[in-house]
Amino acid sequence: MKQLLLLLSVLGLILSCSNLPQVYPAADSAGPQTDRACRGPFPDGDWQLLHSIEATLPGGKKGFLMGLTVISPSNRTAHCVIMTLEGFVVFDALYDGQITVKRALAPFDSEVFANGLLEDINLIFFKPSGSITTSGSLKSGAAVCRYQKPDGRLVDIISQGTPVWEIRQYRPDNRLAQTVKIMSAKETNLADHMWIADKIELKAHGSPGYTLVMDLVEAVPLKK
């Protein structure tokens, strides 16, 4: 009996740590809200994006940087440059499935930083790779589309009304890993309802966690 209670306690603890919300399948799974959630807030075509970045680090200290990202969603490649506000390049890397770091000055010179940054860029700018496992709505009523990535991790894209979205990426144990909130966005293609986010908040959960608030300074379309 004692063993059963212990097992139930451990199970309860595991379940309480899990943040994976239940998805209630929509009656009409191809409805406009679900379709919007599945499409996500991802840019269409190639773009050169300049953001001012406010990073809140453990302890609440704030740091400010500029992020220049050239993205090509169709082939999932990105060139990412981090600069001081005065324009000095502290990090420069290419991502085309693999990461090639061209320049990295301390404290941006660790492999962990490069991997984390490219993971964040993937989450913010590219539709999740993998397939849609389920779609519908959350308990709150917000439309959701759940993707499973090839590595098994789940990503929820939640549409909370024009133009706000939330992207949640979970760890393999279904605990929340990162949350991306698209606070506001501009419609770049009215016919296809394509958006480009102009205020993004990324929160990395866990320890050490961090928060990035990215304000779009400039968006240059590169080709259609």
Binding site: K61, K62, G63, H79, L85, G87, V217
Partner: protein, 206 residues
């Protein structure tokens, strides 16, 4: 009539003397130090262009630079991102405009920026050649080329080219080469020398 003639001669002499001073001021390190020695403060507007191989078009920023001898500097960007870098009594602060008010930047990249801003104050003091970080050479056309002494610093900045103005003690433009793919160009305009500047400009947003 005689007075008018003397006035014209005097004006001509002053013009000639100024022209000669302008020719000579950037010919030697001593000339540069002597010219800078007459400067107590500098105020200028600047346009900054960031050129990188990946950019479809350069990133353009604008701002204001204020310097008060011997070592107070205010490097303020007004567009597109508002930020102020302050150097005063050896301390560097960066303040960034967020949601209508300025927030202190506590990031570690300020250490590198401290080196850069201290370098700028050295230039504005006319001290280009006695520098522990860079070797400097004076080239024709009022150009100074600075190259890092240490390989470790060359990873941050490969070369700096400073183009001096034909006006004594003033800098016309600065080119900072970070790598083969990236350089920054700063062009200064509306330079005002020796104006009285409030000390508080180098300590806070104001």
């Amino acid at each position: 009539m005689k007075k008018k003639k003397i006035y014209h001669h005097l004006n001509g002499a002053i013009f000639l003397l100024t022209a000669l001073m302008c020719i000579g001021w950037a010919d030697s390190w001593e000339g540069l130090k002597t010219a800078a020695g007459t400067v107590t403060s500098v105020g200028a507007r600047f346009t900054q262009e960031k050129h990188m191989k990946i950019l479809a078009r350069p990133l353009v920023s604008e701002g204001v630079l204020l310097f008060q001898g011997p070592d107070s500097l205010r490097w303020e960007y007004t567009h597109p991102i508002q930020s102020i870098l302050l150097l005063h009594n050896g301390k560097t602060r960066r303040l960034v405009q967020k949601n209508g008010s300025f927030v202190e930047d506590a990031s570690v990249n300020l250490q590198a920026m401290q080196v850069v801003v201290q370098e700028i104050t050295q230039w504005l003091n006319g001290r280009f050649d006695d520098n522990p970080i860079f070797t400097a050479r004076l080239e024709p056309g009022r150009k100074i080329v600075m190259v890092p002494r240490e390989e470790s610093f060359a990873r941050f900045i490969q070369r700096i080219e400073i183009l001096l103005s034909d006006r004594p003690a003033a800098i016309k433009s600065v080119m900072i080469f970070e790598s083969e793919d990236s350089f920054t160009r700063l062009d200064f305009k509306d330079v005002i020398l020796n104006q009285k500047l409030d000390d508080a400009l180098f300590r806070k947003v104001k």
